[in-house]
């Protein structure tokens, strides 16, 4: 239960910000090291070997309404986590963040990293019963290329061709390693050729895809009701008949409704409420390692925070271990590097970060233009009590080295407008990857030419930019790792943002729910869900 303002919650971690990850081309299939998701609390198949329990309606409480199913134009989690129930990509990531074949039976990436070949599964059908062909995939990817959108395909695609009814070939101009990961995103789901013969507008109102669920009733400002796709390619699944996305804007409301059994699971579970649900006999908490990094961002255009010594001093003054412990109740890891441990090439264990040392912090501040401290403001969004607490810890830490921070709390919408306009000195926010790819976060947070302008910090460093582009072209392997290690070290030294911790994905559910799969981007897979009667 956080404060009253109803809007901010996990969607913030998962969606709007992390949002925009520029997708570019090249690569081979990922060598997903280092991802170590905690296993979910109860996503096991029915253990008794008997027939799985089927039927029933699953109600999922979510903080924001689904207002569009246009997979190529959407990015925020409120839509993404509904789109991925209806449309599915050729390859997908599993709950460990590993890329696996999904609609494709198999895929192959040529040695030069320029040709991608996918073979579709046999007997694959859309929810209306039509066979899925390679031509549908061609249409889907071409529309994405044409539309662009917030998750535009960044790889330089030369051609997309259907070699035969089941085989799709994509050719790139130059290698782009993150490509295969980015194809696993919801925005690369497969839709029927020519929207199945209806107009685009009509199609997006009644979308047809290969996903486990079909939209039955949809209020763009309220709830969505899905029914199960009887033509789903995973035999016998989904087990439930209906899935309802229920709009519950307020955190505490959501928790109360879960406790009261009015919903079966909730998407927005604040860290501080997790243990309460875990302790309850009727409720459980499902977790997974996330692709999210909670950070303190500086506006490098600000008179104080343009000084690297000020930023370093503050980083040294903050006890990240203590902060993580006090705020996250064991549902997070303290952060050293920008990349979360669930993302390949993270250097969280090896990086030399600025660790808590007040004396050193004071010494660092003494080197700056403001040796005797100053007063500034910290911008946070209302409605997220963990952030409010976090802000107080930072306020206290800053005070210990002579920096006076006034906490400015504004509503989520205002918060976003403010930082989009660089109208902040420092702010608390999080960055997130959309696919299991280092480039996903790094491009968003370090590219001064990208639309996010290094996550609105306006941080510009030529070497960082160079390393970023190099990493995109380098095939997976040690040399790519070295590039990203170097990049992360520069960021840790110059601190345009201080990574604070990596929060787990938390989903609150009724104990009666079985088979819920939590993905590291915060979405859920419902096809294995069974409701105990």
């Amino acid at each position: 239960m956080s404060t009253l303002f109803s809007s901010l919650r996990k969607s913030f971690l998962v969606g709007p910000l992390a949002l925009v990850l520029l997708v570019i081309v090249a690569g081979c299939s990922g060598s997903n090291t280092g991802s170590s998701p905690n296993s979910a609390a109860s996503p096991s198949q029915s253990a008794d070997g008997g027939k799985p329990a089927t039927g029933g309606t699953f109600t999922y409480g979510r903080p924001a309404a689904v207002n569009s199913f246009d997979l190529h134009n959407q990015i925020t989690s409120n839509n993404a986590f509904a789109i991925d129930k209806v449309f599915e990509p050729l390859v997908a990531f599993d709950n460990k963040g590993e890329i696996v074949d999904w609609l494709s039976k198999s895929h192959n990436i040529s040695k030069d990293g320029l040709t991608y070949t996918f073979v579709l599964r046999d007997g694959l059908k859309f929810s209306n019963g039509t066979e899925v062909t390679a031509q549908d995939a061609v249409f889907s990817i071409e529309r994405h290329l044409k539309v662009g959108g917030p998750l535009a395909i960044a790889a330089q695609v030369v051609s997309v061709k259907a070699q035969d009814a089941k085989t799709l070939v994509i050719t790139l101009k130059e290698p782009y390693t993150p490509f295969i990961s980015e194809l696993s995103n919801f925005s690369n789901g497969i839709i029927p050729n020519n929207f199945g013969g209806v107009s685009e507008e009509e199609f997006l109102k009644k979308p047809i895809g290969t996903g486990p669920f079909v939209v039955e009733k949809w209020d763009p400002a309220g709830d969505v009701t899905f029914t199960k796709n009887t033509n789903y390619w995973q035999e016998g699944k989904p087990y439930i008949d209906k899935l309802v996305y229920k709009l519950i804007e307020d955190d505490s409301q959501a928790i109360n409704q879960l406790k009261a059994g009015e919903v079966d699971a909730i998407e927005s579970l604040a860290l501080q409420n997790a243990n309460e649900l875990k302790a309850g006999t009727a409720t459980a908490v499902l977790t997974n390692g996330s692709w999210v990094t909670e950070q303190l961002f500086f506006n490098t255009l600000d008179q104080h925070f343009s000084d690297v010594h000020v930023r370093r001093a503050l980083a040294l003054a903050i006890d990240r271990n203590g902060l993580t412990q006090a705020l996250t109740f064991g549902f997070a890891k303290p952060a050293n590097s920008l990349l979360p441990p669930a993302i390949p090439y993270n250097t969280n264990d090896t990086i030399k970060a600025l660790n808590y040392d007040v004396n050193e912090a004071k010494a660092e501040l003494a080197k700056s233009k403001f040796p005797s401290g100053f007063s500034t403001k910290l911008l946070i969004a209302s409605g997220n009590s963990a952030r409010a607490q976090e802000a107080q810890i930072i306020q206290n830490a800053a005070k210990s080295i002579g920096i006076n921070i006034e906490i400015e709390t504004v509503e989520l919408a205002t918060f976003r407008e403010r930082f989009f306009k660089y109208d902040f000195a420092a702010m608390l926010n999080s960055g997130q990857a959309d696919s299991p790819e280092a480039n996903s976060i790094l491009a968003f947070q370090t590219d001064p030419n990208g639309f996010s302008k290094s996550y609105w910090t306006h941080y510009t460093n030529e070497e960082v930019t160079k390393l970023l582009y190099e990493g995109q072209k380098t095939p997976d392997g040690e040399s790519r790792g070295e590039i990203y290690a170097k990049l992360q070290q520069i960021l840790a030294d110059e601190v345009p943002y201080i990574p604070l911790y990596f929060p787990d994905i938390l989903v609150g559910a009724r104990s009666s729910v079985n088979g819920l799969v939590v993905l590291p981007n915060g979405s859920l897979r419902f096809e294995d869900v069974q409701l105990k009667k």
Partner: protein, 329 residues
């Protein structure tokens, strides 16, 4: 033989009642004019430049100038006022939302039904519960029940309304599951069902004051001479209580509620937040944090005018219902 009594002189003439009504209406109109003026100046009383508040500290002077223009702040103050009043009179509006461009009136009209329903339910519950409690206390004067009911306002006076709401949610929503813990249900029954807890919460803020004065009122009625007349005449006490005591106490309750309606509306705005109800309250909070001044002004204006009208109606109703006021004229 006794002399026959002279005819009854009607103590209230059509003339005096018309005079009273004109006075009351005139007064209400004057207050409304003052309210409009106050709302107009609201944007100016608040420290700081509204344009700067909307655009942020890092905004350019050009942007601020253009925002001044949008808000009409570049005009002389007299013209601004005229413009404000003209817009209000012709469109019943305080301008378009700075954020969405929709007219403030429409935004408010969208959200008003739920809030109105909540206010009506809360008023109804407040009257019902306080009458009940006051009656129990007054008929059991100086007994344990009376003491308990009398302590109740003392304790609850210091209870913040959000706190009461939270307790009620925990008890009736989460534990007992009698009512939904928040939001607004579908259909009429769902809506009413989901608004019961919030209505009780709002009513709760009114009950202490109401019970306190109602109990005194009822004791006065219970100890009045006419009650002895009725009892002596052998009218069943049930009839006395329901028909005479209740009616005589209901009128002052209604008047008190009329005086308190302003507090009741204010409480409703806060309670809406606690229960996640998308009414005027949540519109107010979101408009405020977006510095959407036309909408804020609209909410303030409509709430205030509603208070003036309700007070007037209550005044008229009690004047109409209470023959004593007519006798005094």
């Amino acid at each position: 033989m006794m002399k026959s009594n002279t005819e009854i002189k009607p103590s209230v003439t059509l003339d005096s009642s018309r005079r009273w009504l004109t006075q009351a209406l005139l007064r209400a109109a004057l207050v409304v004019i003052c309210v409009v003026t106050a709302v107009f100046f609201l944007i100016r009383i608040v420290p700081g430049d509204p344009a700067k508040m909307i655009l942020g500290e890092y905004s350019t002077p050009e942007a601020i100038a253009s925002m001044h223009h949008t808000l009409g702040l570049d005009l002389p103050i007299g013209d601004q006022y005229l413009r404000f009043v003209r817009n209000l009179v012709t469109h019943g509006d305080t301008g378009a939302s700075i954020i969405s461009g929709t007219s403030a009136r429409e935004l408010i009209a969208d959200r008003a039904p739920v809030t109105l329903l909540l206010i009506v339910m809360a008023s109804f519950l407040a009257i019902l519960l306080s009458l009940l409690l006051a009656m129990l206390a007054a008929t059991n004067k100086d007994k344990l029940l009376d003491h308990l009911i009398r302590i109740f306002p003392t304790i609850t006076l210091g209870m913040p309304v959000f706190w009461v709401g939270l307790l009620l949610i925990l008890l009736f929503g989460v534990r007992l599951r009698w009512f939904p813990v928040g939001g607004v249900g579908e259909g009429w029954t769902g809506m009413l069902h989901s608004l019961i807890l919030p209505a009780i919460t709002v009513a709760f803020t009114q009950i202490p004051t109401l019970v306190r004065s109602l109990r005194a009122q009822m004791l006065e009625v219970l100890e009045s001479d006419f009650l002895v007349t009725l009892k002596a005449a052998g009218i069943p006490s049930r009839v006395i209580l329901l028909r005479h005591v209740l009616r005589n106490s209901a009128l002052p309750t209604l008047m008190l509620l009329g005086v308190n309606i302003s507090y009741l509306i204010g409480g409703t705005l806060v309670v809406e937040q606690v229960f996640g109800i998308k009414g005027i309250g949540s519109l107010l909070f979101s408009s405020i944090s977006k510095r959407d001044f036309p909408v804020i002004q609209g909410i303030a204006l409509y709430c205030a005018i509603a208070v003036v009208i309700i007070s007037l109606l209550v005044e008229m109703a009690s004047w109409w219902l209470d023959p004593r006021t007519k006798g005094k004229q």
